[in-house]
Symmetry: C2
Subunit: 199 residues, 2 copies
């Protein structure tokens, strides 16, 4: 790979570190960026720095936000008595796309996964319990992925919520077992929200 | 897509503009970058700006270089009487990997493609003719891709080189017809260089 100048080589390496991007793809992307007009390449670089600097986690629901409360926690139109618990901010976007849900969210930022050394303390579970303990919450919908780890995480949290006076539900298995919430289509997600059941 | 904060949304959009990156992939990449430590995200951004700023075209062969002559044009060990004409800097890397060639290169930065509004004047053909006119060149190897456009570009340049006292050759069809030079394996490229023929 010593055939490209060092700065180009470094850019190829940066792209190659991204998930799902192999060596040839990294080359293709780096060459594409090199072919962009100066200001567009600069805009790309700025977008990285800017996102990294200004995107934080909402102090209430831990979803990504551009500072302060996220728009959903800040909105008086959303039903504060319902909390939909998801593993990832992308799952918030997926549930929002179904247009079936008007409550608030809680983002765990992962699932319990002993294989990957992720335990309950690595997730935003304690802030969830604190939200429920503060009162005003009638239902917690466990919307982690319907796979082994998502299921185990949902069970674990459901058990922790037992002492509280809240209904804990799980998305119905309208979502394909073993799949990922992020890739579910809107109709399936709508069916899953409608058919949620006691756990 | 209004579910992510604006700076994150902008980063997703930047990734989605890259070739071969769809909406879901762009999200995945943007979230990955957001999860990187501050200094690594900064290094990625810097690599883009740095590559864009410091990588230029070699004034002789038009290959990418980090300023001044490229290492191949600057090397006294390379045979200046041979010029291998390729469409893309990535093709230089591909030919170099075959370890069969010790001459110099000329990078056209594209092929003649009326469909994409790329004519001969959009390519580095004139600088090639000037190099040959200066003398000292015994052979020009046309190593554009073995597809319709690469073939047509090779024919076009071969005709322009007719008045000069140089041997013009074409890579042998060891390379699979309709394929791309960039993806050829080393052995195939070696065979193709060995079997090059008069045109």
């Amino acid at each position: 790979m010593e055939y490209f100048p060092a700065p180009l080589e470094r850019l190829v390496e940066q792209f190659a570190r991204l998930p799902g991007i192999g060596g040839k793809s990294a080359q293709r992307l780096a060459f594409y960026v090199l072919g962009l007009p100066e200001e567009e390449a600069r805009a790309f670089a700025d977008a990285i720095v800017d996102a990294k600097r200004s995107v934080t986690c909402c102090p209430v629901c831990r979803n990504f936000t551009a500072g302060g409360l996220c728009p959903i926690c800040a909105s008086p139109k959303r039903d504060g008595s319902m909390i939909c618990v998801v593993a990832d901010p992308r799952d918030v976007a997926a549930v929002e796309r179904s247009r079936e849900y008007n409550g608030r969210y809680h983002v765990l930022h992962g699932v319990i996964s002993p294989m990957n050394h992720v335990g309950p303390d690595d997730l935003a579970i304690k802030p969830l319990l604190e939200r429920v303990a503060e009162g005003g919450v009638a239902e917690v919908i466990m919307a982690t992925n319907p796979d082994t780890e998502g299921e185990a995480t949902a069970m674990y949290i459901a058990r922790l919520l037992k002492p509280f006076d809240v209904r804990v539900t799980r998305l119905a298995y309208g979502i394909p077992v073993g799949g990922h919430l992020e890739f579910a289509d809107d109709a399936t997600l709508m069916r899953a929200l409608e058919g949620r059941r006691e756990m």
